[in-house]
Amino acid sequence: MANLQSFTEWIADYASVVSEQADYLTDLDRAIGDADHGSNMNRGMVKAAELAGAEEFSAIDAYLKKVGMSLVSNVGGASGPLYGTFFLRMAGAFADVAEAGAAEVGAGLRAGVEGILARGKAETGDKTMYDAWSPALDAFDEAVGAGSDLAGALRAAADAAARGRDATKDLIARKGRASYLGERSRGHIDPGATSSTLLIESAARSLA
């Protein structure tokens, strides 16, 4: 079961992963974007990770809402509104939830991803972060259906996300900056799919 503390650990863990991987994320974005995805995410996650220390939170939803607002306010670019909306919508799914099991976390992730879709209007195969999220959600639900606990479901989601991320390599981008490259976007992994996979992997470490 994941409680408020698990969620703050998730954010802290992800912030440290992003800081380590910032150059890599930026390199991915250099190939098919504008070379800022790592610094965008890092700028936002540094701020988001500071929230837990600066303020006393009493509930998961209040905390996730602040994380979302902080990302919206600090990241900019495409990833700011997308990740910000993800956390804001996820927060909405945790009203009155103090301890989250597989069902609650699954609902939360799905609400978040619906936010990403609402903002970005991406579809499967557009070579965006959704191409990591979509198989991750499916794998999560499948694992839960097969009797997995939260830890197992998150592990399955992370693996699926990684496969989805790798599969973006062969796609032609149809959304975001990489779409301007047309054919030339093929052959490169999508940076946002990569940072999203890292977020799910981090959840698998922290939330279960």
């Binding site: 250099r30 098919i32 700011g80 301007y180 030339r184």
Partner: protein, 334 residues
């Protein structure tokens, strides 16, 4: 990376301090929100014009704030869209009761952040906000199923023209309609001789060999549509104008406002040389140049290269173009 900077993380805010120091007579800079405003508060009843985007395109947008042009410009990190907080702050400040027009370049990040800001400003302050999205870059194919074309050079011309209309006292609906008209009447195409280096990234976004150029480039150091062997200016001009002219109808009496824009690292000498080539092609194509701009207006840091923008302009547009403007980047009539 060789730049006249201190810490790469402080580039944008330190440059804004420089703008504040250089133009106290015309500008006011909110350093916390990173918004450049006209020095004087908005005139009651005037539509407020807000634009913004990633930094690194100077003088756009901060240098285009002033009488007859923008009321506020939000500065994002280098090549990164600003965040909704900045746009909300700006929108509230320049709401003179007649509503606010957001001028947005068509990039996923810019569009989404401005969208969030408009929703929030309407909810929080009740400000009426309309938006125009500029997508004039013919290097990118337009499609409902992709992010569509990028917004580039036409943005500068639009900010000037709609700025004049707002100054005249036209309503928000009229300003928005005019903005849409301008956005639809302008097309651009760019190319690069060199890449540029985002300060936070520390190395060039792409590499070009000594005998190569990148055609169909945007303004963020993104690679373009195709890499080609270097060509003489004459051929470059043809390559840039051909798709622009194919996409704009100049039959009838309509003239063009032409911008020969430098990407930041190309000297004026070469821009004038290129303008000569462009003017010759336009003459051959029967396009009358009503007005022109030659210089660095929408740049990509220190990238060497150029872009051409053509705007179909009737007498009304040319009249608005000629109206007084007083910004650090564009000034006449005052």
């Amino acid at each position: 990376m060789k730049k006249l900077i201190n810490d790469p993380a402080d580039v944008v805010v330190e440059a804004l301090r420089g703008m504040a120091a250089a133009h106290p007579d015309r500008l006011r800079v909110d350093l916390e929100n990173r918004v450049v405003y006209r020095r004087d508060p908005i005139r009651a009843g005037k539509v407020g014009l807000v634009s913004g985007g990633g930094s690194g395109h100077e003088p756009m947008h901060g240098g285009l704030v002033g009488l007859g042009m923008l009321d506020a410009a939000c500065a994002g990190e280098v090549f990164t869209s600003p965040v909704p907080d900045q746009m909300m702050a700006a929108t509230k400040q320049v709401d003179g009761g007649a509503g606010v027009l957001h001028i947005v370049k068509n990039y996923t990040g810019d569009v989404m952040n401005f969208e969030m800001a408009a929703e929030l400003a309407a909810a929080e302050a009740g400000t009426e906000v309309q938006s125009v999205v500029v997508d004039d870059d013919v290097a990118v194919q337009d499609s409902l199923y992709t992010a569509g074309r990028r917004g580039v050079g036409t943005t500068v011309l639009l900010e000037k023209i709609v700025g004049a209309a707002a100054e005249e006292g036209r309503s928000l609906a009229d300003c928005a309609a005019l903005a849409t008209q301008v956005a639809e009447s302008g097309r651009s195409m760019g190319m690069a001789l060199t890449s540029c280096t985002v300060p936070a990234a520390g190395k060039p976004t792409f590499d070009l060999a000594e005998d190569e150029m990148e055609v169909g480039i945007g303004i963020h150091g993104e690679p373009g549509r195709k890499r080609m062997p270097m060509a003489p200016a004459k051929e470059v001009a043809e390559m840039l104008l051909e798709p622009v002219l194919a996409d704009l109808d100049f039959t009838g009496d309509t003239g063009a406002i032409v911008m020969m824009n430098g990407m930041g690292g190309t000297p004026l000498l070469e821009l004038y040389l290129m303008y000569h080539e462009v003017a010759q092609i336009l003459e051959k194509s029967g396009v009358t140049v009503a007005r022109n701009l030659v210089g660095n207006y929408i740049t990509s840091l220190e990238m060497a290269g150029c872009s051409v923008t053509l705007l179909r302009a009737d007498d009304d547009l040319v009249g608005l173009w000629d109206a007084p403007v007083n910004t650090p980047g564009l000034r006449w009539g005052v």
